[in-house]
């Protein structure tokens, strides 16, 4: 039952917000709801018994409204519940327009995301998958920056097109289920689909996730969307939505079409690694801080995708760990980006500089987050990337080398950006900058603490996902004998 509660809290709170017009109250209620969700989610972590909920929904199609979770979904759920309080706090003490609608939409997004991670049924999964898009679309459209109309439209159509393939895939799988057709994940994973079918079905199912994550070359919606999106929107996008793609792939591809995955494994890994290098190289010359971070996020996520398709023990452990660590880091990064934009009025790097002279504490916190992002040891990023690269290494040394290059390139562009923004002489752009306010500390300090604590003591997260990682890594093992992977 707790799962149902977690799903419904944000939704109901969101509905309540729509009735209220007082901006401050709305934000407080939203925050309270997000914190309650967080507490409820954490209670899942500490209860031994798995919570689940299931009721027949659409009778004649055999579709159940079934909620449940395992280690993987739990990580995703924790990520969502953990980030949303911060995402909401990012708007605290700030002037915003149409507050009640904005926060209601944010909470609706949270609810839909929770639904995605909890759904135990492909149809339900798909419904929630699409539902996340609707509130987010409005957040981007109504509160976005320059060029929002076109960019949002592109984003929407792009992801929707991908989803359409997914829907087709789900219907196809549904038609394959023996006896009374059903869309339960458990039934899907028991299908024995012939290898040839799996090989094409892979792309049908993968394309939706590939666009959402995004995997090179399906990423082109991302930089412009991130650059244009309002801070809270981009936090949701980068922090949670990208992970939704990863989660979907883990749920759909590996248990259902292991042969197809194995066949395309190296192709996808190479694509992701190209994405890693490509995004990192591009990031170096970006002049807009937000675009730069968008590309950096793409590089990190691509590395996770590579790890996912290696699918050995360390890679998946690293992946799930990195999901959490990247989510926290990127939210912190975007928060600081918002502060810079707010204070300096621009995000163009040539116009920025010398902020450290005026706001030393901001510079220090920014540096800490940057260090987390470039995977310095004792930050969470390091643990994740170390495990991921270990996993890649087991597949091939070259995968590890190219995956590892992200460490070097990441250092190059992130530090370059840091220096251009914070160091150097004062620039006209950084005119009357003041240092952090209390609310900024309230947001940033916990985020940075999480980054550091996870880096120093990552064991709890490992224990949480241990069981599901073990199941997952066994998926591809028996397959290797049936069908050879595409050669490198």
């Amino acid at each position: 039952m707790i799962v149902l509660v977690i799903l419904l809290i944000p939704f109901i709170a969101g509905l309540l917000l729509l009735l209220n017009r007082n901006a401050a109250a709305v934000k407080l209620v939203a925050l309270a709801s997000a914190i309650v969700s967080l507490v409820a989610t954490l209670s899942l972590v500490f209860t031994a018994q798995l919570s689940s909920y299931s009721v027949i929904w659409i009778n004649f199609l055999e579709i159940k409204f079934a909620l449940g979770y395992d280690g993987t979904s739990l990580i995703m759920l924790i990520l969502t519940s953990l980030l949303f309080p911060f995402i909401i706090m990012a708007g605290m003490k700030r002037e915003q327009q149409n507050v009640s609608l904005l926060y209601a939409l944010i909470l609706f997004t949270q609810s839909a995301l929770t639904g995605v991670f909890l759904a135990q049924n492909a149809f339900l999964f798909y419904i929630f998958w699409e539902l996340t898009l609707i509130p987010l679309y409005f957040i981007l459209l109504l509160w976005g920056g320059e060029g929002r109309r076109n960019v949002t439209f592109k984003f929407f159509i792009y992801t929707l097109t991908g989803s359409l393939f997914l829907l087709f895939g789900i219907i196809y799988l549904y038609s394959l289920t023996p006896g009374v057709h059903t869309t339960d994940f458990s039934a899907f994973s028991n299908l024995n689909i012939p290898a040839n079918t799996q090989i094409w079905l892979f792309w049908v199912l993968f394309i939706a996730f590939a666009i959402k994550m995004p995997v090179f070359p399906f990423h082109t919606w991302q930089p412009s969307t991130y650059t244009m999106a309002p801070t809270q929107g981009v936090m949701i996008l980068a922090g949670v939505m990208t992970k939704m793609g990863i989660y979907g792939a883990l749920r759909f591809l590996f248990p259902v079409i292991p042969l197809g995955v194995h066949y395309w494994q190296n192709t996808i890994i190479i694509l992701s690694l190209i994405g890693v290098i490509y995004a990192s190289v591009i990031a170096f010359r970006q002049t807009n801080l937000k675009t730069l971070i968008a590309f950096s996020s793409m590089a990190h996520v691509s590395l996770m995708v590579a790890a996912m398709f290696v699918l050995n023990y360390y890679a998946v452990q690293g992946l799930l760990f990195q999901v959490l660590s990247h989510g926290v880091t990127i939210v912190a990064l975007f928060y600081i980006v918002m502060l810079i934009e707010e204070k300096a009025g621009t995000l163009e790097l040539p116009k920025l500089g010398g902020i450290k002279l005026l706001a030393p504490n901001m510079a220090i916190l920014f540096l800490l987050v940057v260090l987390g992002s470039i995977a310095l040891p004792l930050t969470a990023g390091f643990v994740g990337e170390f495990l991921i690269i270990t996993g890649l290494f087991q597949q091939s040394i070259w995968f590890a080398v190219f995956g590892g290059i992200t460490m070097v390139l990441g250092a190059i562009y992130m530090l370059y950006a840091y220096q251009r923004v914070m160091l150097g002489e004062k620039r006209p752009g950084s005119g009357n900058i003041t240092d952090l306010k209390r609310i900024d500390y309230i947001v940033l300090i916990p985020l940075i603490t999480i980054i550091l604590v996870l880096g120093i003591y990552p064991q709890p997260v490992f224990n949480l996902v241990e069981a599901s990682v073990t199941t997952m890594q066994n998926l591809l093992v028996p397959v290797a004998e049936v069908i050879p992977a595409l050669p490198l």
Partner: protein, 633 residues
């Protein structure tokens, strides 16, 4: 642990003190007075030094060679078990003593040196963090903990080199240092991962005991050692990743002293010495190390000949000395390498602090062409600097003599050509060091309006202590030639497995020493003739030079080459990817799909223009097609 050694658990205090210092000075940045921060930071490092000393005696009295202190399990999943543990053995103790001892002196010196900088507190916080990272590096019981320190010192060097962050050139230098280190780190982490995959562990003791099962020259071991070597090359500023170190002069002088003497650059040497068992299994890698070390030693020494910035000269001398250490490592004489690290720590710290004292006295001037005649004004600095110069030149009985002679004799054992080249490098070192000494302290004062004065006690006392160490440090390891017992080498013997080699006969050694001394004497005399008697001053920046001088003066154009080969193409590649690939191929393709749909839509719309006859035709055609379809299928 077989027998727990009483009180050895105190080892965690060693890194804890600087960490505490970092936290206190860092968090209480605003409320702490400048002096207080310096005192706290210095005290913390000094405390670490004392604890290290206590540990030294504890270990010695226990009769055991090593002890592992596990704090907690850092990463423990599946077959991977990486504890956060410290290894206390003879090698790490040596390094700890160097790091904390020399580090403490540098900290104390900094109190004086940095007294008028407004961001002193941040400075000391970062210095403490630096010490902390370096301690993690040398104390780690496995490669991953070592790697924490490894990256940590990289970060701290980044922070400290760019300490005066208003200057873009300094920021560039800082970034360069970090990125070059990161390139090395990539090799290093890949090496660690390969170690893990091969041995299923990253703990030193377990790896080394398993490594015995591998034959000499096993490919996987060779690959591992090469990957680790890449890391060491980056951190210890060897060719081809050495250019960051001279640029690292951008930081305050004590930082340079810390980077060059006690921490950071010695990390690569330490790591290879620590992995001596692996390297002994990979002769190919050892040969590569010899080549890298020797090339670095000579090229850096050559560049040092023509530098006019007091700190740059010292920087290239460091690179060159690191080359010697690498040479020693490559020859399998790991303890000789570590011994040179030790003596080098003493005299190089002394040189930098002395240089700092000079710069301090000259009011920030670093150009040696503008100095001169400081011998009278700053006698204390002069004498300590002289001691260090003699030490680095390898004049007996100063410390550098013993360590360098050990390396040279090992080189001679290996091959005569190697010896000649190494000796040539040593002679060049001797020449430019005395050139520096003469230009700075002898002759007439050349900078008008400067009033050099002796530095305060807080700066000179560390100088004196270091001078004593530079002079007598060599006696730690008196070779059998002088009836000594090679204490230092023997002490390290339990932790570092040097390659067995034939000892030279005493007569050969004496011959070599006498020969090299003669040459050194000639070089010093020649330097004296040139710079003191003829009082020649190096050419000004714009003046024409011979081709060779120009080549050396411009550091063989290596920086320019790197800019042309790596930095610029990287920028071009970035632009190419963004402007050409992203914005003219990938993105437009996607957009084009959208536009095509829209275009097809508007094409199809033309069909829907309300022409009833057309509709009727279309309808009939549709029916026709439908019937035909049914007929055919």
């Amino acid at each position: 642990m077989v027998n727990p050694i009483p009180y050895i658990d105190l080892a965690w205090l060693v890194p804890a003190f600087p960490l505490l210092g970092f936290l206190v000075t860092g968090l209480a940045n605003k409320s702490l007075k400048h002096k207080q921060a310096g005192i706290i930071a210095s005290a913390m490092v000094l405390l670490s030094f004392l604890v290290s000393l206590v540990l030294f005696f504890i270990l010695r009295s226990s009769g055991q060679n090593e002890a592992t202190i596990t704090l907690f399990n850092w990463i423990s999943i599946g077959g991977m078990n990486i504890p956060f543990a410290f290894l206390i053995d003879h090698l790490s103790l040596t390094m700890m003593l160097i790091v904390t001892g020399v580090g403490a002196l540098i900290h104390i010196y900094s109190i004086g040196y940095m007294h008028d900088d407004e961001r002193v507190n941040s400075f000391f916080a970062q210095m403490n963090l630096f010490t902390f990272s370096m301690l993690l590096l040398v104390m780690g019981a496995n490669y991953l903990v070592l790697f924490i320190g490894w990256e940590g010192v990289g970060l701290c060097s980044y922070l400290l080199i760019g300490f005066w962050f208003k200057n873009p050139a300094y920021n560039y230098a800082a970034r360069k240092a970090f990125v070059m280190n990161r390139i090395g780190d990539l090799g290093f982490i890949l090496g660690i991962i390969l170690l893990f995959i091969t041995f299923k562990t990253v703990t030193f003791s377990e790896i080394f005991s398993q490594a015995a099962a591998f034959p000499v020259g096993a490919p996987v071991i060779t690959l591992i050692t090469i990957l680790l070597l890449i890391g060491a090359v980056g951190k210890s500023a060897q060719i081809p990743l050495f250019t960051w170190l001279p640029d690292a002069m951008a930081g305050p002088t004590p930082v340079s002293a810390l980077i060059h003497a006690a921490t950071m650059v010695t990390a690569g040497i330490y790591m290879i010495a620590r992995s001596s068992i692996l390297y002994n299994l990979a002769p190919l890698t050892l040969n590569i190390i010899i080549v890298i070390g020797l090339a670095t030693a000579i090229i850096a020494a050559l560049i040092g000949l023509k530098q006019n910035d007091i700190k740059k000269v010292l920087a290239y001398s460091t690179v060159s000395q690191l080359g010697y250490m690498f040479l020693a490592l490559g020859l399998g004489a790991y303890s000789a390498g570590v011994f040179h690290v030790t003596t080098h720590a003493f005299f190089k710290a002394l040189l930098f602090l002395g240089a700092g004292s000079v710069i301090h006295a000259m009011g920030g001037e670093q150009d040696i062409r503008k100095m001169g005649g400081l011998r009278k004004k700053m006698p204390l600095t002069y004498f300590t600097f002289l001691a260090a110069t003699l030490a680095i030149s390898g004049i007996p009985p100063f410390s550098g003599f013993f360590s360098k002679d050990l390396i040279l004799s090992k080189a001679f054992e290996h091959s005569v050509i190697l010896y000649i080249l190494a000796l040539g490098g040593a002679l060049i070192t001797c020449f430019y060091m005395f050139r520096l000494l003469y230009l700075v302290f002898f002759g007439e004062q050349r900078l008008a309006g400067a009033h050099p004065h002796e530095s305060p006690k807080v700066m000179t006392i560390p100088l004196i202590i270091l001078a004593v160490l530079s002079v007598f440090g060599g006696f730690l390891n008196i070779p059998s030639l002088f009836n000594g017992d090679s204490k230092f080498s023997n002490y390290l013997h339990s932790a570092v497995v040097s390659k067995a080699s034939e000892e030279l006969s005493h007569s050969t050694e004496i011959g070599l020493i006498l020969g090299s001394l003669l040459l050194l004497g000639l070089v010093i005399f020649f330097a004296y003739r040139t710079f003191v008697s003829k009082s020649m001053i190096p050419a000004k920046d714009g003046e024409p030079m011979s081709f060779f001088s120009k080549l050396i003066y411009n550091k063989f154009y290596i920086d320019e080459m790197y800019t042309a080969v790596f930095e610029k193409p990287f920028g071009y590649l970035s632009d190419f990817f963004y402007n050409k690939v992203e914005n003219t191929v990938l993105d437009p393709v996607v957009d084009e799909i959208g536009f095509t749909t829209a275009r097809v839509g508007s094409l199809l719309r033309k069909l829907q223009q309300g022409n009833m006859s057309f509709y009727l035709f279309a309808m009939v055609a549709g029916i026709l097609l439908f019937i035909i379809f049914i007929l055919i299928v």
